[in-house]
């Protein structure tokens, strides 16, 4: 196999990985703090994509328009996160995991159909912002600028996320909530606000990744349930609740998928789920997480 071909595969895997990281980081944060597996995270991602498309229809197709659409979509989904957390989720915190899981699943059903009702079932697409529309030559391959942008954006978000969690007062509160909610509550911190904030931020990230994926993938009903399982795999590989773990989990997932197709075509789908199962069996807390 030519090195340029392998490089192409590698870059493709990396792009997938960084998208998945953007999506899965929010999922992982919510799990880490609230101990909830949010099935609706994929729905937030889907809504982000649709909202971005909607805003693009209203504004001129320009680079500025695209950034505006992405930001508006992410903020819109973040706001939805606040509403859902305040109205419903809050009353489920003391309940069994089953009820929390089922609540997020109810959201999947409702949001999926709502999107179908509003935007229909046809494929929609958004073109890349003109600034990032071209491609560059690297090692004898053409790499789309937009992919490179995502590959740079992923680590940037990971870095600032890490900075936010480990070097700020808010981050310290969030980490404290991860460790012992009752204690933090007893010490007088406003745990409720932290929870709302985390849920909203997680939804914001999902919405943002949904908006940013639109130039690469078409927007279709069902993208929510397809992506959520992939996000689960990534979060499980890295370790549920571990931020850097999610980052490296995404990288591993992307490469396994990308090169798995070359080695065993038809088995890449199998291999990623098998990887998820093996990690849960051998190290349930993931490659980079800590045992609970």
């Amino acid at each position: 196999m030519a090195p340029s071909f392998l490089f192409s595969q590698f870059m493709g895997g990396l792009t997938t990985a960084m998208f998945l990281f953007l999506i899965a980081s929010g999922l992982s944060l919510v799990f880490g703090v609230m101990r909830v597996i949010n099935f609706a995270h994929g729905s937030f991602y889907m809504l982000g994509a649709y909202l971005a498309w909607q805003v693009m229809r209203w504004v001129h197709p320009s680079s500025g328009g695209f950034w505006l659409a992405a930001l508006t979509a992410a903020l819109g989904v973040g706001l939805l996160g606040v509403v859902i957390e305040r109205l419903f989720f809050r009353s489920l915190y003391g309940r069994e995991e089953l009820y929390q899981l089922l609540f997020t699943y109810a959201l999947v059903l409702i949001l999926g159909d709502a999107a179908k009702y509003i935007w229909g079932v046809d494929q929609l697409s958004v073109s890349a912002p003109p600034v990032l529309a071209g491609s560059v030559r690297m090692f004898g391959t053409q790499q789309p600028l937009y992919s490179l942008f995502i590959i740079v954006l992923g680590p940037l978000i990971a870095f600032f996320g890490w900075l936010g969690l480990n070097r700020t007062g808010v981050g310290r509160m969030v980490r404290a909530a991860q460790m012992d909610r009752e204690m933090l509550d007893a010490l007088g911190a406003n745990v409720r606000t932290i929870y709302t904030g985390m849920f909203a931020f997680s939804a914001f990230l999902a919405g943002l990744s949904g908006a940013l994926v639109t130039p690469i993938e078409s927007i279709v009903p069902g993208m929510d349930v397809l992506i959520i399982v992939q996000a689960f795999i990534v979060v499980v590989i890295g370790g549920m609740g571990s931020f850097w773990g999610t980052f490296w989990g995404s990288v591993i997932y992307g490469q396994v998928l990308s090169f798995g197709i070359l080695i065993l075509p038809g088995f890449s789908l199998f291999s990623v789920f098998a990887l998820m199962a093996v990690i849960l069996i051998v190290r349930p807390w993931g490659l980079f997480g800590r045992p609970l």
Binding site: L101, L109, V236
Partner: protein, 323 residues
């Protein structure tokens, strides 16, 4: 309780269900068959969910293994149903034994995630292994078993083959439910409930918690496989879609809607979901929205499910009558 012991309600329900091919339309029989199969599937899940307190998000894997084993044996190899049906249950039980061995070592959300992973592995295999499972095309046109012997029964001579298969399904589900009922009420079943309520205490009094959970997992898998085998023949084909993870969520909803604290809760849930699905999809495509709304009502207003709600109402009325 005394009232239900005097009137054999379950027997009456099954006798009424058995008359559907004669008194109802072809469509009624179709609905009844689906309800009966889903009822078995939901009860098998509830052995884990309600009785043992294990939240499996991948129960559809065993349903799927059963459907594929039976379908492949009957269609590809021409094996008769008498052998293919038990093979489906055994195949699902075997897979449940292997996957369950690992699953019961994990707790709560990790358990749910691993069951989900195993079910997606089954889905990936079903979806991609074209030579055996038919891949994304699935296995259409699975033959009906030979049911000519039913003609010998009085009044059954001029039934359609689908009606005859419905009667066979009903009989097999009735037997399966009776066995499951015995299991839940046995000392083994009581121990499962003890483990659900307090696993530490169960372990402390010398119970091998994991072995019990694994046994429950295998039994639940076997009966899910039996339900899957019946479903494959009933719907005239087995497709990879049957095994996608969202189906596991659907059967959980059936169990919860009926009431997971009661043996007959999940069948009630299956009845309501299948019936509502048929009624609602007749005039809107937004069935998932309705299902989501039902789920919200259930979670916030009726956590005990339908049977749980009726039971609570009944005890309250009786208490008032006595006072």
């Amino acid at each position: 309780m005394t009232a239900s012991r005097r009137v054999p309600w379950t027997l009456i329900v099954f006798v009424v269900l058995a008359t559907v091919p004669w008194v109802g339309s072809r469509y009624d029989t179709f609905l009844a068959a689906q309800i009966v199969i889903d009822a078995l599937f939901a009860v098998s899940l509830n052995l884990l969910l309600g009785t043992t307190g294990l939240v499996s998000f991948g129960h559809v894997a065993y349903f799927g293994v059963g459907a594929y084993v039976c379908g492949i044996l009957m269609k590809t190899y021409g094996v008769p149903f008498v052998l293919a049906f038990p093979a489906a249950g055994l195949g699902a039980a075997l897979f449940a034994l292997i996957s369950g061995y690992f699953c019961v070592r994990l707790i709560k959300l990790y358990f749910a995630m691993l069951t989900l992973a195993f079910s997606q592995i089954v889905w990936a295999i079903a979806y991609k292994w074209n030579d055996v499972t038919g891949g994304d095309q699935g296995l259409p046109e699975i033959p009906y078993p030979n049911l000519d012997w039913i003609n010998a029964l009085p009044g059954c001579g001029d039934l359609r083959i689908s009606d005859k298969f419905y009667l066979l399904t009903l009989a097999l589900v009735a037997i399966s439910l009776a066995v499951l009922h015995r299991i839940v009420r046995s000392p083994f079943g009581r121990m499962l409930t003890t483990i659900r309520d307090n696993p530490e205490r169960a372990a402390f009094i010398g119970v091998n918690v994991r072995a019990y959970q694994l046994a429950a997992f295998v039994v639940a898998g076997a009966f899910a496989g039996a339900a899957g085998a019946l479903y494959g023949i009933f719907s005239r084909g087995v497709f990879a879609d049957y095994v996608f993870w969202s189906k596991s969520a659907e059967v959980i909803i059936m169990a919860i809607l009926g009431g997971m604290d009661f043996f007959w809760g999940p069948p009630v849930g299956a009845l309501v979901i299948v019936w509502l699905n048929q009624k609602i999809t007749a005039y809107t495509e937004y069935w998932p929205f309705v299902l989501g709304a039902i789920l919200l009502v259930l979670l916030f207003a009726l956590p005990g499910g339908i049977v749980g709600g009726v039971h609570a109402l009944w005890t309250r009325l009786r208490g008032r009558g006595r006072a």
